[in-house]
Amino acid sequence: MAIHTLAVLVENSPGVLARVASLFSRRGYNIDSLAVGPTENPKVSRMTIVLNLEGHALDQVNAQLFKLVNVIGISEMKPAESLQRELLLVKVANTPKSVELSKKFGAKFIEANGVLEVEAVGERAEIEKFLTELKAVGIKELVQSGVVAMEKGATTLADRTLTTMGTANQSNQDNSTADYQN
């Protein structure tokens, strides 16, 4: 099991999610989660893709992904160097145990019509641990956002990847693009 988290900047254009999904499906790369949303730049969207790579090299995945014309930049979010968060919404039975667990994991909760609506934000491992313990109480419904990740510190992904964003022309733009080429 090799889990990698990729932050991918893509042009905000129709079909781009389908292109990424189609590529992963066609090449047999397993996606654990994929979250996509807008960024500080309205022309650019950002995906956070958690991959379970068994038998595929990360370099190869990056290179294939980067071949998509709408993909602007890719950077691996290493656990120690990035903030990684996932949102969990879950309905469980409203019992003292479920309230206790929610408090223990720092989750927000509302009691409503005999159920407890719980909202938790955290790192993947914490969320999974919380879920395991909640299972004993009885989960009625759950939904997870997938991981979103951001590099720690002052450097932004756009700094890393968009510095040469601009015109395509005949001249060679060395090191213009993704991390993996450097």
């Binding site: 998509l68 014309v69 395509a168 080429q181």
Partner: protein, 579 residues
Amino acid sequence: MSEKITGAQSLVKALEQTGVDVMFGIPGGAILPAYDPIFDSKIRHILVRHEQGAGHAATGYAQVTGKVGVCIATSGPGATNLVTPLADAQMDSVPIVAITGQVPGPAIGTDAFQEADIRGVTMPITKHNYLITNPDEIPNAIAEAFYIARTGRPGPVLVDIAKDALQMKTEFKYPSNLNLAGYNPVVNPDLKMVQQAAQLICESKKPVLYIGGGIIKANASAELMQLAELINAPVVTTLMARGAFPDSHRLHLGMPGMHGTVAAVTALQKADLLITLGARFDDRVTGKLSSFATKAKVIHADIDPAEIGKNRHADVPLIGDLKNILKALIPTVKSELAKNKPDLTSWWQEVDSWRNRFPLGFDEPADGSLSPQYVIKRIGEISGPDAIFAAGVGQHQMWASQFINYEKPRTWLNSGGLGTMGYAVPAAMGAKVGAPNQTVWAIDGDGCFQMTNQELVTCALNNIPIKVAVINNESLGMVRQWQTLFYNQRYSNTDLHSKRVPDFKLLAEAMGCVGMRCESKADVDKTIEAAMAINDRPVVVDFNVHRDAMVWPMVAAGTSNDEITVARSMAPVWDSQEL
């Protein structure tokens, strides 16, 4: 302010400004607005008989000229008929642009008449594609499509345009520069890597230049020649690279792979260094990957970073345009050679012994019937080194690769990656349009020919005098060969009866071509010469050949290249020290 024109006029103006001189297509409802300004355009439009023919013709044109080939079709079935040629061009990295009409914007997604989501369909088989619903975006999409198709690793780009976008008024504005944030192909190699490659080359005792189709795409044959002669290494050219290096050259061992020469296959297996230029370690070349060239270090030069390490680890990757890579590599190797010149004498002794003991050859059929290899060999010899050959897929394709000598790049066209039966006739048509002064032969099989021969009508009506050799063994020959070897001679559904039906001679004549038939060895030369003498019409020659001829040598699919057989159940007899 410039005057308002329709989206369709804007499209045609954009195509003209991009430099398109010919396109292949068929009109239909959704693309119809575009055909009105096409009627007035200086761009030559060739009306094909099936959209697949338009796609392969665009490919043939692109392969011969190095320019972007263009095909055009309507929505729905017109567009889906382009799927095979697009997939074909994607696999063989051929720069083509397909323009398709789409149902009007408001109808998209309603399952309208002749609606197909061709952008969705072709996403995995194009380099990039577009769906345009705003007429103002047409010129930019066209400019981008051509730029993406021809730069970096070339490939097909599809531009799908909604019918109402073609009808609406717009202002024509051709972009002066393109804004493609995510597309910047690396063209110049990392010089540190070039230095490392030069060092490996000068340390190698058993180098092989493993040449792929990328050399032809990069127009780098002259540079390849310089490097090969400089380092005096054996050269092998893959199916896509035939013609990249002259077959007559002393360094050339021929084609590697499943039906490669013993010398080429074995040289790769025993090499200590593969200098891989624009090749991609395809399974048809490597055989069982884990047993391929196990002792070799790998220099892998390619414009596509995703090819590096995809199938085989590269010790030294060189990413960039092959011409630039070679221009940087040659002087670096020269200065390294001044310090350290490896002695390749014993390597050449080994290589030459394989080459001398196991030349390509074939047996004449015992029953006196015509040998397909002989026919193909004579077509090559009589037509000469400037002729262009387009093959279908199967036995005849392998024989055309093996028994025709290719001396120049862009004289050999075939469907290497996708293996598209039916490629030959339309590709030859496109090739002849691109190179009207060269002889163009389609070397086709009787199975392949029956898939796309309708384009001979197009050829006859548009003064595209190609020549077609139908290597008629009345069967799906390569499949039959596998049935012979691996399925106990159970010939399930491979017998085409095509010596009885259809009558290819009459069929050719019905389509406005000259039809000929040849059944004996004695008639081969004069038939070919008669075909060569006709230049005002297409010619089809039905060569009735022996049906049980097989392609040798052969490495069975999924096995090691060490298990190459030179004839049925006949492994090469190696000297003991070679094993």
